[in-house]
Amino acid sequence: MASKYHKTILVVDDEEDVRKYLSAALIGSGFDVIVAQDGFEALEQVKKHKPDLISLDLVMPKKSGAKFYHDLTKNKEWSKIPVLIVTGHARDDLGKADLKNLTMSGPGVYLEKPVKPDNYIAAIKKLLNMDTTEEEKKLGDKIKLQSELKTMIDNADPEILEKLKKIIKPDNEK
């Protein structure tokens, strides 16, 4: 498939509609796309095609995104592939712990479902250090900043956070 950018993105998600959607957005922007529906298939695809970036869902049956990522980084070559996490579980019990571990040691950028096509493409382009339009650049920066902030807050000492909160909003008792 001749694409504008000649870059291949591996989209990993257990929901068919999500795969269809993200693929359509990527193809529409000029990327090539391969898909996988769980961690096992994803590893197979990485072996076969060596994608330029992996768009990764976290909570999947058979092999979760976190486990896949863990296996990925074990391989020297593969660990260099940038990963964008697209998850619906950033803030609940199912995903919070996994996400925290990942963002601490690995990809610093993640998106929370549902995603808008523009944000998604901008994030992908940013991770690939590609030339972007002004708007895409702004979007990309915003997303990166948001992710970094979220990561910082998640990793911060809860006591210090409480103190900060009081300084910012001194009227709040709680």
């Binding site: 257990d14 929901e15 068919e16 509609d17 999500v18 269809k20 959607y21 993200l22 359509a24 957005a25 529409g28 529906q37 909570v59 049956p61 058979k62 979760s64 619906g88 579980h89 609940d92 019990d93 199912l94 929370e112 479902k113 549902p114 995603v115 808008k116 096509p117």
Partner: protein, 493 residues
């Protein structure tokens, strides 16, 4: 001090003198306060005990001395005896010589000087019961104020005595049968514990539901005990009841709270399903708009279908979740769980076999009926067996089997579904009971285990899993029998 010998010898020689001496001493020695009064209430004679107790009596009227009153007592019993010559025993309250209140029992006996003549005097013999009266008051207080309902009934179940607590709560008792007042019934209660006590003279206990004065229901434990320790027939039975309505309400609240916790946790899991649906809608819209932009009919169709699919998923999700979160009292019937298990085994035995899996039952022969919701338990077993079969399919092992077992011991009914399939990942095991999670991709709603958990909790029970990756899993449902019966009785009343 009476010298018996002396009286003996005197008696022989001077009998009248001996008699006089004897009577005088008896008059003084008997442990009674004796006074003799005439028709005008004058005390003409009294013994030393009387003087000690009531004080000086010479020239005084009896009501002045007994009660420190200047007029005859309102219900003077002596007047009556003067009139009809009947002996009387009366319970009186007076004042002793120190001015302290005194309670005494007095026997009133008419005295005639001439056999056929009028009644000239009355002998009043009184003995102090102040102490006894005090105890009586104390015990009465105890009986009345104890925070239990106490009634004493006769063989016809008529209430002879009832304490204050009982009357306050259940209403008027005079002339009524205990079942009339406790339960507003006109016939004896079935399984009446008092009936058993009348029969065997032993203490019996049972849980009951009564109706109070105002018409509200009340739950209590009643203990019936025979009055007296004789070895003969039981003529009276004491019924003592402790109100446990509050405890019952608490238990119900606990079960409800457990259910709400599960619901609360699933709300978090619900977010996942919704987010994916939103992605589908987002995707559908994007693909349709791309299709329109590029004049690509296939893309438009594909996008539109995605929209339709996801709208339908929303509807299904809402319906499932609404029905799931509704708290229901299960429709309990006395059912033998072994029958339910056999139903499931018979239903799925062949299907399982076609997949190379043996579905078997391992039943506790000694169990009998329990209050269970047959449809609910059927759903649970179907879900667990279906999951077990799926787990077996993921495994390459040869002798795959799913075994459903029943057991009753230590007050707990246990039903478990065990397979030797693929086992469950630790990560997933942590979350399976409480979240919308499915390993079946688009097919599973993720609600199966959640629904099972809900049904188990509605029965007051618990569900847990033991699993080892690669070896198999065992899903165990436990139902405390007490809770099943509590829910069962609650439904009936």
């Amino acid at each position: 001090m009476v010298k018996v010998k002396k009286i003996d010898s005197i008696a022989k020689k001077r009998p009248r003198e001996a008699e006089g001496w004897m009577y005088k001493n008896i008059f003084q020695l008997v442990p009674y306060n004796i006074a003799i009064i005439d028709r005008d209430f004058n005390i003409v004679y009294a013994n030393d005990n009387f003087t000690e107790y009531f004080g000086d009596w010479q020239g005084k009227k009896c009501h002045q001395v007994y009660k420190k009153l200047d007029h005859p007592c309102d219900h003077c019993n002596s007047i009556l005896t003067f009139q009809d010559g009947q002996t009387r025993v009366c319970d009186e309250a007076g004042v002793d010589q120190y001015g302290k209140p005194a309670h005494y029992v007095v026997q009133i006996v008419p005295l005639k000087q001439r056999k056929n003549g009028p009644i000239d005097y009355i002998v009043e013999m009184s003995s102090d019961i102040t102490e006894t009266k005090r105890w009586q008051r104390e015990y009465q207080l105890l009986f009345d104020r104890v925070p239990c309902y106490i009634t004493v009934i006769d063989k016809n179940y008529k209430i002879i005595r009832a304490n204050e607590s009982f009357r306050e709560n259940f209403g008027d008792v005079i002339g009524k049968q205990c079942y009339e007042v406790y339960k507003k019934r006109d016939t004896k209660c079935p399984n009446c514990p008092a009936a058993k006590t009348f029969k065997d003279g032993k203490v019996h206990r049972s849980n009951q539901v009564g109706i109070k004065k105002a018409g509200d229901k009340t739950y209590y434990i009643v203990a019936t005990s025979p009055v007296g320790r004789g070895h003969g027939e039981v003529n009276q039975v004491i019924e003592i009841s402790t109100d446990i309505t509050e405890t019952k309400m608490l238990e119900k609240e606990i079960i409800e709270a457990e259910r709400l916790t599960a619901v609360g946790q699933t709300v978090a899991g619900l977010a996942h399903s919704i987010k994916n649906i939103l992605m589908g809608l987002e995707g559908g819209m994007f693909i349709v708009s791309q299709g329109l932009k590029n004049n690509d009919t296939n893309m438009i169709t594909e996008g539109w279908e995605m929209l339709e699919r996801n709208f339908e998923k929303t509807t299904t999700l809402v319906k499932d979740f609404l029905s799931f979160s509704k708290g229901r009292l299960p429709d309990l019937e006395l059912t033998n769980p072994n029958d339910l298990v056999m139903e499931i085994v018979n239903l799925y035995h062949q299907i399982a076999r076609n997949m190379g899996i043996e579905l078997k039952a391992n039943l506790d022969e000694n169990i009998d009926k329990f209050p269970l919701d047959p449809r609910g338990i059927h759903t649970c077993l179907t879900n667990l067996v279906s999951n077990a079969i799926d787990a077996c399919q993921l495994s390459d092992k040869k002798n795959l089997e799913v075994i459903i077992s029943t057991n009753f011991s230590g007050g707990l009914l246990t039903i478990d579904v065990t397979d030797n399939g693929s086992g469950i990942d630790y990560d997933i095991k942590k979350k399976i009971f409480t979240t919308f999670f499915t390993t079946k991709g688009g097919k599973g709603t993720g609600l199966g285990l959640l629904t099972t958990t809900k049904i188990v909790q509605e029965h007051g029970g618990k569900i847990s899993v033991q699993t080892k990756k690669g070896e198999g899993s065992s899903f165990v449902m436990t139902f405390p029998r007490k809770r099943l019966y509590m829910l069962y009785k609650g439904n009936q009343d």
